[in-house]
Symmetry: C2
């Protein structure tokens, strides 16, 4: 395993088909599953690690975002990364970043209005990673469903020769979707947060039983959620456009955002076309406690 600090060096060490896994670090099994997917399909697996100030809509969220480079490098290496690209601010933003990449429409609903500038920041930094590293494939979690749609569209619209691949959500054994921010949850907040995945999975049952009406599907989620969570939205949205639909008549995802205490959580279930109709992607369940709560034992 090799650590790089510059785009030029990262491009040079890539051999054959390069698979890129962009992250903001503080890795959990969700990130590791991206590395494993890349490992299986590419010759050189590059994981980038950069907490991107451009995509944070709140300064306090950026400031308190967890960071632990040594731990991340150990976990990434164990999962099969060949290269860990750790640019500093000077490499990533040597000057004022005047150039901005926007994906109109796909960025405008769901998370868009609630996190002003977020998707511009994401699209811009990922455009830089794709342009500067020139990978043939890149891996993103389905957990950030709208981000996946934004990036896929961005790469396509900018004629970038990179396949953008969405990888199933990894959940803890009790259903909670992994997130680096989960470490901020108290026991009670974590318990309350379980309502989210429970609601989504109940809605997936309903869809697989034939329900297609968006209102009925989102209501199934709300039914599971009590007063101890503050819901921002529950929405069934087109997978490509990330825009709400009234019925499940195309590949879609059922997404939500909610606060448990001071921590904002998102989760979703993707509905893909299967043989017998739409199938919910329930994600992967961990058997054991996440590495998030240990200290580097990968």
């Amino acid at each position: 395993m090799r650590t790089t600090k510059s785009f030029a060096e990262t491009r040079e060490v890539g051999n054959g088909v390069v698979g890129l896994v962009p992250t903001m670090g503080f890795l959990h099994e969700g990130h590791l599953s991206l590395i494993e997917a890349a490992r299986a399909e590419t010759d050189t697996v590059v994981m980038s690690l950069f907490v991107n100030p451009l995509q944070f809509d709140r300064d306090d969220d950026f400031a308190r975002y967890p960071r632990d480079l040594e731990r991340d490098v150990a976990l990434a290496t164990a999962a099969g990364a060949d290269v860990v690209f750790v640019p500093d601010l000077e490499e990533m933003y040597p000057d004022e970043q005047l150039t901005r990449v926007n994906v109109i429409g796909v960025s405008d609903e769901l998370e868009g209005p609630r996190r002003p500038g977020h998707f511009e920041g994401v699209a811009t930094v990922v455009a830089k990673l794709f342009a500067g590293i020139q990978p043939q494939r890149s891996y993103f979690g389905r957990k950030d469903a709208q981000q996946l749609a934004v990036i896929r569209r961005m790469a396509r619209d900018l004629s970038m020769p990179v396949d953008v691949i969405g990888v199933p959500i990894v959940r803890e054994s009790d259903g909670l979707a992994l997130s680096s921010r989960n470490i901020f949850l108290s026991d009670d907040e974590r318990e309350a947060a379980l309502q989210l995945s429970r609601g989504l999975l109940r809605a997936a049952d309903l869809v697989e039983a034939g329900e297609r009406d968006a209102k009925a599907i989102t209501n199934a989620v709300y039914f599971e959620i009590g007063d101890d969570l503050s819901v921002e939205y529950v929405s069934l949205a087109d997978q490509d456009r990330a825009s709400p639909v009234t019925a499940l008549d195309r590949p879609a995802f059922l997404a939500l955002a909610a606060w448990s205490g001071e921590t904002r959580l998102i989760d979703n279930v993707h509905f893909d076309r299967g043989e017998g109709g739409y199938v919910g992607d329930r994600g992967i369940r961990l058997a054991d406690r996440s590495v998030l709560y240990g200290t580097g034992e990968g």
Copy 2:
């Protein structure tokens, strides 16, 4: 010489160091000088030819923009292009182009407010060409001074490993800067248009004699321009930021836009740091009439 229609094919035929010359076709000696510059510095010279609807702020301007593919391919070949990339609309914009690239600041003055959406269209299509072809070097005329600044900043801000090179303006023997749009000028309009280069060159003399005040420098241009032209602006601007300066205290360009009849013309002189102070780039003079007025004799 080979003609390609897809990004993938264009990437594949590029060997060694690839030099890209993006054009909208209807070539003149200005374009040919870009090809020659690329020929001297790279292994594979790719000229792209695409009249980009996204960068036209007026539909009539797009509709009447001159086109002659056969002529262009012959001229490009004679000048040394290895590949002429001629994407159709379907290859360039297979879907609605939702992704837009903006270079804040650099796009905001001079041409910016007068051609709404123009630089967004330019930055977006050039980002696509850079991402889809992955050249190591790319060549642009200094005639579009602000465009050059926008693209240079875009490439840098997006971490693209491409050197953006500005090439001197090519002028007819009487000083008129070459432009595909010159073919629309009547004899009288063309005669009037000569005032523009005359004014710019007079200002260059003044600068080289020691003048540094922007007002004095721009006034020298206005002094040459009569009522038969309608001037939009004359401005001394920072080469990197394309923003007006009050004194020549850094590399800058003296730019103008004016209408001669129904045709909008732009021209400029770049001031670069030389040994004895700032030197005006007066461009290259053609000895003979431009190929614009012939039919393909390169």
